[in-house]
Symmetry: C3
Subunit: 337 residues, 3 copies
């Protein structure tokens, strides 16, 4: 529990209202009750401000006058909400130390302040930094490294020679360092190419549940600082993802593709292999990126949703587009345009 004045001081914000007003939680404008702090980050929800039962609201200076309760005044209310959310973190505390059921190689180097959960396996040559938390049932392969303050949630798997930086979060069932999908056609079928590279992940990277980052074929697969990756995302071998880029759920990159910095790939986006996307590119949901992009901006593919009945009619015509074009050209020609 904090008072409104304490929160203002911690966030370095001005406030209006009673300094000793108690704040016990965070909630949306709609569901906030007494004791809750809320936030208004989008003008669209301005109408909700009037009726809120929150104890206080984080608002832009522009709307401070309209706030019927206490407020924290911020130029960036959403960012202030992000910061305040950590003060009310309800994640259970970790039990310090190495659980006796963990199997830690004597050749591993685990910092004395690191937490190692039950049934976790840490192989020889692995390194776990200060204050790192390795949850239950995690596998950490030979010569892999987990930086200071990084958290690995239960049952995630880190193969050998995967380096993860500091202050990262890796969610459950994520797999870093599985073999890239490399095979050569041989006389009797596919012949596997041994994947000799590793994975290098920078600092402050988050990787979602059930996401996969393959090891490189020869060089490493690289994820730079500040990248955020949602659930069920596939990063193939030898990709490189630039600083602070975000990839939403169910998106995927084929092999050897490079994504620049500060890009956003929405849900379900697929990118073919061996292309380069420059910085500041934004790709809308379920787009198929089939070539390199060298101009910042927003890109899309796909067709709009409609009733299945209408869609079927239009979809048939899609298959006739070349002929529609020719019929049109023929008319234009005859008319002398």
């Amino acid at each position: 529990m904090y008072s409104l004045g304490e929160l203002a001081a911690k966030l370095n914000l001005e406030f209006s209202g009673e300094a000793d007003c108690p704040v016990t939680g965070v909630a949306s404008l709609v569901s906030a009750g007494p004791g809750d702090l809320s936030f208004l980050s989008n003008k669209k929800y301005l109408a909700l401000l009037e009726g809120t039962r929150a104890a206080a609201v984080i608002v832009h200076p522009e709307f401070a006058g309209q706030c019927p309760v206490g407020c924290l005044i911020s130029e960036t209310p959403y960012l202030s909400y992000a910061r305040v959310s950590h003060l009310f973190n309800n994640t259970p505390a970790d039990v310090p130390g190495v659980h006796p059921s963990a199997v830690v190689s004597p050749d591993a180097d685990v910092h004395s302040t690191a937490v190692i959960g039950p049934h976790t396996v840490i192989e020889g040559g692995a390194l776990v930094g200060a204050d790192a938390v390795i949850g239950a049932g995690v596998y950490l392969g030979h010569d892999s490294r987990i930086g200071a303050g990084t958290r690995i949630y239960p049952n995630a798997v880190i193969y050998h020679n995967v380096h993860i930086g500091e202050q990262c979060v890796i969610h459950s069932q994520a797999v870093l360092g599985a073999d890239g999908f490399g095979f050569a056609p041989g006389p009797d079928g596919w012949e596997k190419i041994c994947q000799l590279g590793g994975v290098r992940v920078g600092d402050r990277v988050e990787i979602g549940a059930c996401s996969t980052v393959d090891r490189g074929a020869l060089d490493h697969t690289v994820i730079e600082d500040g990248v955020i990756i949602d659930n069920l995302v596939q990063i193939a071998h030898n990709c490189r993802i630039g600083k602070n880029t975000a990839m939403a759920g169910c998106s995927g990159l084929a092999g050897s593709t490079t994504i620049g910095a500060d890009c956003t790939l929405s849900g379900g986006v697929g990118v073919v292999g061996h292309v380069e996307i420059c910085d500041n590119v934004h790709v809308t949901g379920m787009t198929m990126v089939t070539k390199s992009i060298s101009e910042p901006g927003s890109y899309s593919s796909g067709t709009p949703m409609s009733s299945t009945r209408d869609w079927k009619r239009n979809a048939v015509r899609f298959s006739q587009l070349e002929s529609i074009h020719k019929r049109l050209a023929s008319i234009e020609k005859k008319r002398g345009k």
Copy 2:
């Protein structure tokens, strides 16, 4: 093994044929052999009835006369097959009790009839109901609850504050309660928003292998009674899925989206965030749902498959559709329509 008469009694169906005809298994019309019970649930396969080697077939009254072997007569043959399938369940029996290698917090409340598999971890405050089965290597976080009769398959992960109802099935590698993908843009990159909500799952819900249901940012993510979710499905934070809705493999919902009751989302469907879909909506495979749907019915997007050669020609014309429209409009104008 059952006799035909016993099956008829158990399913409360009429039958024709010899009551003591032995039935030892279930099989499709094509592969059924002596001793097998089969079913005809689709007129399309009527021709297969004549040649079946099954001991008996579940048929609609309409086709009972054409059945060359014994039959169970049902108004809903597919449903009767579903029910009879459980009589031939070949899933190995569970070993009762808590396996000695499991790490169960003394502050957890595990019912005496529950099964806890080897290497499973159950944290403090967690609750496991009567006859629940928690497979090997599962992680069950603090204050999470597993209802009576629910089965969690090996290596699934349930974070803290996730409540799962009764008679649910959660398959291996599913993750419930990982952090929602919530970040605010800050001066030096993305700043994580602490995900303070949990997950609430109703009764008789099935969640497939490698599917992910994120915890809420503030309020809970909610899955209502009777929802069925296939493999590799992504449910983002603060979604709500209505009663008896079905989501097929590789489909996904972005954050804060609400799906009504009795909907079906086919494989690979994606739904953007913050939209509402009403009850009784059916979305065909790989459709991109980009807006709310307020009318029940069937919805689609995408283009039909063709040979790559034809597709390339038509796809180029897709990129010229605006100009095709203008060319057409120009002709129409000149002709006075």
Copy 3:
């Protein structure tokens, strides 16, 4: 470390250059340094050959004359690279035997040369062949079989009655044998159909991280010899995948679909249920396969990516295609074509 002459002998290739030139690793033409062997498998990169710092390069006879360093001469340089990669395998060696923390049923049959990792669970009736490697935290269900030389990476889950052949690789978090998505509509919602079949996987099959292969409803789900499956791929119940077919990341098959031999499905491809695809079919990325394919060849669907601004205009016109067609037909009619 090998000498160039030794490598030539091992690969049964001719070479030019000094036989005792030491080769200590494999690298791409661009990043190769002294001691590295590289390869030129695509004419497109011919210009890189001149400047390479590699000790030697695997080249087609056509380009041997242009190689400024030593070379191994191969009609199939990429295949030769695949084979040579295994000579430089840097995967850590396995610790032989059964780890004391593994829980192996006395009714399981584990070959004396097999490796069983820490915390792995092997149920009764399971069979593990010679030289098989079952990594840490794996679950192997009742009556399942792992063939000789097959490797299962940590935390993968194999349900009961799943047979995997010889020399296969199953990556972490893969799930074989989870229930197919089979439910019948009943009076109060979905009723589960007990999935009575198993999974049969041939020899030399690779299955990627977080991929799922469901057990059959009645008959088995079948994956034939030499099939390669990437990460996050969904194979529904009762599918059959023919010999040497490749499925790239994030692709998926709905139930009872048959794919022929020597097919390739690119990333994100989805195939509806109950269709048949013949041998030698190649499907481009993110294509939706909605019907059977009986002619070998390449198939596609989708629309090309463009700027979101252009895309929006064209996408609106897609929804008017039926009317565009009619407007065109009307003009044609009036003009007597």
